[in-house]
Amino acid sequence: MSYRLGVDVGGTFTDLLLVDDSNGETYTAKVPSTPEDSSIGVLDGINRICSQSDIDLSKVSQVMHGTTVATNAVLTGKGAKVGLITTKGYRQVLQVARSFCPGGLGGWVSYVKTPLLAPLELTIEADERMGADGQSVSPLDKDLFKKDLELLNSKNKIEALTICFINSYVNGQHEIEAKEIAKKVLGDIPISISSEVVPEMQEYERAETTVVNSYVRPQVSKYVTNLQNSLQDKMSDDVNLAILRSDGGLASGRAAAESPVNLLLSGPAGGVAGAMYFCKRSGFENILTFDMGGTSTDVALIQDGEARVRRETRVGDVTVRAPSVDVRTVGAGGGSIAFVPELTKALRVGPESAGAEPGPAAYKKGGDKATVCDANVVLGYLPSDVKLGGDMIIDRESSVKVVQELADAMGIDLMAAAEGIIKIVNESMLGALRLVSVEQGYDPRDFALVGFGGAGPLHANSLGILTGSWPVIIPPGPGVLCAYGDATTKVRDEASQTYVKKVEDIKLEDFITELEALKTRASVSFEKDGIDSTRQVVKYQADIRYTGQAFQLSLGISIDDLKKNSLSILTDEFDRQHEQLFTFAHGKDHEIVMLRAVVEAQNEEMADLDINTSNSSVDDAKIQDSQFYYEGKWHDAALFERNKIGVNSTIPGPSIIQEMDSTTVILPGHSATVDKIGNLLINPNK
């Protein structure tokens, strides 16, 4: 008998989910996060969950973990001291950053550049040059490089080194040579070279990505090693630690520590994975996920049970070339602050947030600005007179006071202002949902909408109305969904290579050879972690576009299909999708820009997770009567406790369903049913 443990470390709480592999029974726990060293919180949580469930720690065989260690290092600017080696003439590649000033006309007036992750004083040039065709133009001047590096090292204590040479995506030989020298000069510090981390065209993006890898590497490596050691101490030497990657796959602790740039969106990927897990089991393969937290909302589109993956990851001001679940973020959450600019008298919400401190006015922790949460309190969606689960006090009077100030500034009444705030924040979340659906050629009405995160279930019904995505699904434990995601995903790795060839110039057998070589590369980490080839499932992808175009699609291919139909299976599919997206197709001049092999480990079959569901009647679940305000008037709304609602019961709206870490609003004209998995399905009344 063995157990697997999902652990999600968030900004405020660490969520844990323990699963009995034999029967799918689950146990959850929530403990405060410990930002100074998050492994402490993780171990606290493990102790808590095992003592509560009376399970022997040594029986836990797998720990699957979503972490924000890498993300936080970037966001707080507290990563390693990174040295950077560039090709001669390119020392300021990060300083110039493709010359981009954000903002509209005049945006430069207020643009403040954030400090470089590899500062200029730690950047030196190497005398070498590779041509765009992969031929060496001039070799690496090894003696000079060694001397310069020694000088740099004597003046500064570098904690991680990055090497990024021009055109190394075609031929990384010079980088490899430089790495060998650097190892001798610098000794035992991590060295990342761009031709290994991300062999893709575009010098700035490749340099930035490799630098970010270096920047977070020492911290991530230390964290993973410490955690692995503590787990082994407490559990057994065989316990297996895996970390969730931004693209929704798992990496072994070892692989994660080597390429931490792949972990930047580990957190949101866990939420998406958790949503997919519950929805798939209820038979929903096409879903829009909607994860609304305190300061921001993440949305993603899942088609046929697969999350879209994009080739870029964005954290704060930093954008890197690493695959991630295509999660779009808007700066709108429960803590977003509403305000009214004096001259235009418009109502604006966000992107500034009250955060956890001082938080919304309702929490009485010093917040004195109206937030989305306060509007929810004023409208009665977040009942102030009931205490359930958490220890949070909600004070409606404080919320009324701050929302009233806005109402006065606009010259409208309190309730209209509160509804206004909600409508505007819903509209900006709708914008994000449109971005992943309508703007990618998908009709949101063909998808179900899954609301989770602290505030998602409050707004989900309204967003369902705006998008026409039914049912609206609130999965079990919407506040700890990430931990479910962590516990239910697969080990994955990938290898990619810039290719850039016109389709008409490609020989099919060369193409296939190239794909197979990538498979070998992608499997390396599996071999190192002892996952043999019989348990590996490989998928191939080609990125294709019209020559010179920026837009490209990653299309899946199988070698059998290629042998049967040649490359036209790619070009035909590309034309079809291009037409669907942009109303026109070109029909010629196709170019393959990138090849990729993605390898996943097949999991051993896992019993379905068992969600506690009672068979009690709807009346048993009712806590009390309440009221909320919607579309200009007050409605009587009953308050229910989610855990007590039985399978197949239907809760008619208007009503409010509460659980430990979340509140779901059912609007008038809608009702919610609990399905056998434990999902709440909200639909408009027929």
Binding site: K88, G89, Y90, R91, Q92, Q95, V96, S99, F100, C101, G104, L105, G106, W108, Y111, V112, K113, P119, L120, E121, R129, G131, A132, V137, I166, N167, M201, Q202, E203, E205, P341, E342, L343, T344, K345, A346, L347, R348, M410, I412, G420, K423, I424, E427, S428, G431, R434, E439, V500, Y546, T547, G548, Q549, A550, F551, F582, T583, F584, H586, D589
Partner: protein, 618 residues
């Protein structure tokens, strides 16, 4: 208006009341529409100019053609006034001729697509977008001939033409146009992308109207215009003085021996606080040039520049639009550099267009010097390289240059950046993969930013090594006049172009020249200029100067411009104090602007300092 819009449903639009929250929501939705227009274009366009550099501008306008969302202001009324035909549902109009659309676009390579949006037979709105095409035919590759004397030498002129008629493409016309350009496939694709982008926006407008109601949609656009009017009324009262302010700046030369060309602007306020009128009078601007550097400036576009620079102060989230145009009067003398007589050549207008921003900064800033920026990278310098590669195939490369953002109230100017919204460089690895050249250096120029309390950004040195024989054309400015400093800040370093031949011989090239033969192995150093400095350099924290020096952004010698003495890279405090005292004494009082000398002084030292003959006054 001579154009006639045919509606099959003549129900009039009534103005209805819209609650403020609904207005805010529709405003949000329209903001998303604009962003989607950009996204569609960037992803589907093919030329590096649009795709990587973002040289394009989207717009949504109301029924009357007033821009409600966008950047460069509406050109639709200008077009409507000039277009003498019927417009029906399904029509899509294409034009590139500044003289046929009141300078809605200012040179022929910018192609505009204009789409009337209909819903249930009623005309609901306009969507439009223009983008810079890689080539427009004419005398030179890239179609920006410096030496053109009339617009007829600048390639194909497309009068407002229906590219689609009632939804059906006019293939013959399209082929005729594309037959006249050197990069027909790129243009075909980019044009498709412009159309796809406008169509998407049109669809979104109809969806919003469906969701909220046609009347509400139409009235909301009106209300959004009124919001801008209201905000700009307050802003104009606040920042435009009744007492006239005057400023002049220059385009260095016209590429055929004359210069510098003066752009003069006087600004003052009339009217009442309820209905103020800001007047910008360009009287005193030099006459039009005989070459292509003329900038036919649309008055409304200038209003837009003015508004978008100032409105950020009060509500950065507002969707900036045309609503305040009645509050601004722009007067441009006919026959001047900014309003040349037909058929003057216009293609090289980018220098004067850029310089307008420095002029506006200078004239507006006098009332509030603390909020003023120094002179910055007010141009979009560019390079063309064309010829046949080793396989005998024709190529032409268009490269935009970037430089020093000026010192600003908020801080130092970034090095080697762009002033233009959304512009980025084309990755060098992309260029090397697709064109026969190698970029051997891509680096900001040490000490090129003007010294100041806030340093001007450094200009950029890009060294192109040509791998085949071919021809280059250069388009740059500020080689003669300086990017000025303000509030005690010094001017930035000027631009230079040096060609180092394979045999080691060197020549300085003029800022504007074309048809220059280059051989395999030659290296061109395209050095742009630095931003002006902001504030007193002697008040800059010496440790910041030390850090700039450590990073190679300022040299040890250059640190002395700040009165800072560095010894082995560290500040020598005593010597710094002495030097600062001495330099302060020598300098005396601080002038608001530092132009680096009078035009006469600059001209007389030109030969020695720039290696180029000074131009003759126009």
């Amino acid at each position: 208006m001579t154009a006639k819009i045919i509606e099959t449903n003549d129900t009039p639009f009534n103005r209805v009341d819209v609650d403020t929250v609904t207005v805010d929501i529709i405003e949000n939705a329209l903001k998303n529409v604009r962003e989607e227009m950009d996204a569609v274009l960037f992803r589907t366009a093919m030329s590096p100019g649009i795709r990587e550099q973002g040289d394009c501008f989207p717009m949504v306008a109301n029924r009357e053609g007033k821009m409600v969302v966008g950047q460069f202001g509406s050109f639709i009324h200008g077009f409507l006034a000039a277009y003498d035909d019927e417009i029906e549902e399904g029509d899509i109009i294409l034009t590139n001729d500044p003289y046929m659309c009141n300078a809605a676009v200012s040179h022929l390579p910018d192609w505009i697509v204009l789409v009337p949006v209909f819903k249930d037979g009623r005309h609901l709105a306009w969507t439009a977008m223009f983008g810079h095409m890689s080539d427009n035919g004419g005398m030179v590759p890239g179609s920006i001939p410096i030496k053109a004397e009339t617009i007829f030498q600048e390639g194909i002129r497309i009068p407002p033409t229906k590219l689609y008629k009632k939804g059906k493409i006019q293939q013959d016309i399209l082929e005729l146009i594309l037959h006249n350009v050197r990069t027909s496939e790129w243009n075909r694709f980019d044009l498709n992308a412009l159309v796809a982008s406008c169509r998407t926006a049109s669809k979104r407008c109809v969806e919003i109207a469906e969701r909220f109601g046609d009347e509400i949609f139409d009235s909301t656009m009106q209300i959004m215009l009124e919001r801008n009017l209201q905000a700009m009324t307050a802003i104009i009262n606040m920042i435009v003085p009744e007492e006239p302010a005057y400023f002049e700046d220059y385009v260095c030369d016209d590429g055929v021996g004359k210069g510098p060309y003066k752009i003069a602007c006087k600004m003052w306020r009339e009217g009442t606080p309820d209905k103020p009128l800001a007047i910008f009078d360009f009287e005193g601007t030099d006459p039009q040039a005989e070459s292509s550097i003329n900038f036919y400036m649309n008055e409304e576009m200038f209003k837009m520049f003015f508004g978008s620079f100032t409105i950020n102060l009060v509500d950065p989230q507002i969707l900036f639009n045309d609503g305040f145009y009645d509050l601004v009067d722009v007067r441009i003398p006919q026959g001047s550099l900014l309003k040349p007589n037909f058929p003057a050549a216009l293609s090289g207008r980018t220098h004067a267009l850029g310089r307008i921003f420095d002029v506006m900064g200078g004239v507006l800033g006098q009332g509030a010097p603390d909020a003023m920026n120094a002179a910055g990278f007010s141009d979009s310098p560019h390079l063309f390289f064309s010829g046949y590669d080793k396989k005998g195939e024709w190529f032409q490369l268009f490269q935009i240059g970037f430089g020093g953002i000026p010192g600003r109230p908020i801080g130092d100017g970034p090095d080697g950046h762009s002033l233009w919204p959304g512009f980025t460089n084309v990755p060098n690895e992309f260029i090397e993969a697709y064109f026969p050249l190698r970029i051997v250096k891509y680096e900001p120029i040490t000490d090129s930013g003007g010294a100041g309390l806030h340093r001007g950004g450094n200009g950029l040195s890009v060294a192109y090594e040509f791998l085949v024989d071919g021809q280059v054309a250069l388009h740059d400015d500020r080689w003669l006049t300086y990017p000025w400093g303000v509030n005690g800040g010094e001017p930035g370093m000027r631009s230079t172009k040096k060609l180092v031949r394979f045999d080691g011989s060197e020549e300085w090239l003029p800022a504007k020249c074309e048809g220059v033969d280059v051989k395999e192995g030659d290296v061109l150093y395209f050095n742009t200029w630095g931003g002006g400095g902001w504030g007193d350099p002697f008040s800059r924290d010496p440790s910041l100067v030390e850090y700039d020096c450590l990073r190679g952004l300022v040299s040890s010698e250059g640190a002395k411009r700040y009165g800072v003495v560095l010894e082995n890279g560290k500040v020598n405090e005593e010597e710094t104090k002495n030097l600062r005292d001495k330099l302060k004494n020598e300098r005396g009082d601080i002038d608001l602007f530092n132009f680096g000398g009078t035009i006469d002084e600059i001209k007389s030292s030109a030969r020695e300092e720039t290696h180029l003959e000074p131009p003759v006054s126009p």
